[in-house]
Amino acid sequence: MAVHVSLQYFASLRDRTGVANESVTTDAATLAELYAQCDESHRLGWPIEKLRVACDGEFAQWSDPVHDGARVAFIPPVSGG
C-alpha cells in the first residue's frame, strides 16, 4: 500500500533536510507515521507535539490518512510579524 507524497520543508526544517521539497514513497497510514519516518531519515529533531501539519495546502490532523499524491508540510512554530 505504498503511496507517493511530496513533502515541503520550511525554516529550520529546510536547513535540516537541505531541500525545500522532496518526493517520497511511504507506507505510513497517518500523517503522524509519515512524520516519524521523516524524523528518522532526516533527524528533524522536533517532538511532534510542537509541530502542526498541513496536507494539500490546508491545516490537517496528525491522525489523517496519507493519500497518494498528498502534498504534506510539517509546520514548526511560526514567527511572522
Binding site: A11, G57, I75, P76, S79, G80, G81
Partner: protein, 146 residues
Amino acid sequence: MSKEKEGSFRFWISESAIDPWSLQRALAHPGAGALAAFEGRVRDNHRGQAVEALDYQAYVELAESEGQRILEEARERFDLLGCACVHRTGHLKVGEPAVWVGALSGHRDGAFQACRYVIDEVKSRVPIWKREHYLEGSSDWIHPEA
C-alpha cells in the same frame, strides 16, 4: 451564517516592499470614521542581540488561506467596513515594514479591536518564519514555542 457586509477584506504575502500609504488610501468607505493601522518593522535587537537584518520565509499557499480566514473572523466579530493585511517575505533591513494591518470601521472601538485581533492571530497562526541575522555574524530561525 454569512453576513452580508460591505467592504474589502484581503490578506496576502508580498515579495516586494510594503507601501503603507497606498494600502491605507485603498481602505475607504463613506461610513468610515476610524482607521486603525499597525506596521511591524524590523527592529535592531532581539533578546539582547543586535540584529542587522531578517529573512522571512512563508508557506505562501497556506499563509494566504489562513490569513484570509483571520480577516473573515475579524469581519464576523467586529463592526468593520474593510480590512487588509500584507506580510513580506525575503530579506529585510532594520526599519523596513514586515507586516501591515489596516482596519476600517464606523467607530474607533471596532477599528482598534480588529486591528489588534488580526496582528495577534497572524503572529500566532500564519505559517511565516523569520531568520535573524545578528551583527556578530551568526543567524537563527526563530521558533517561539520551541
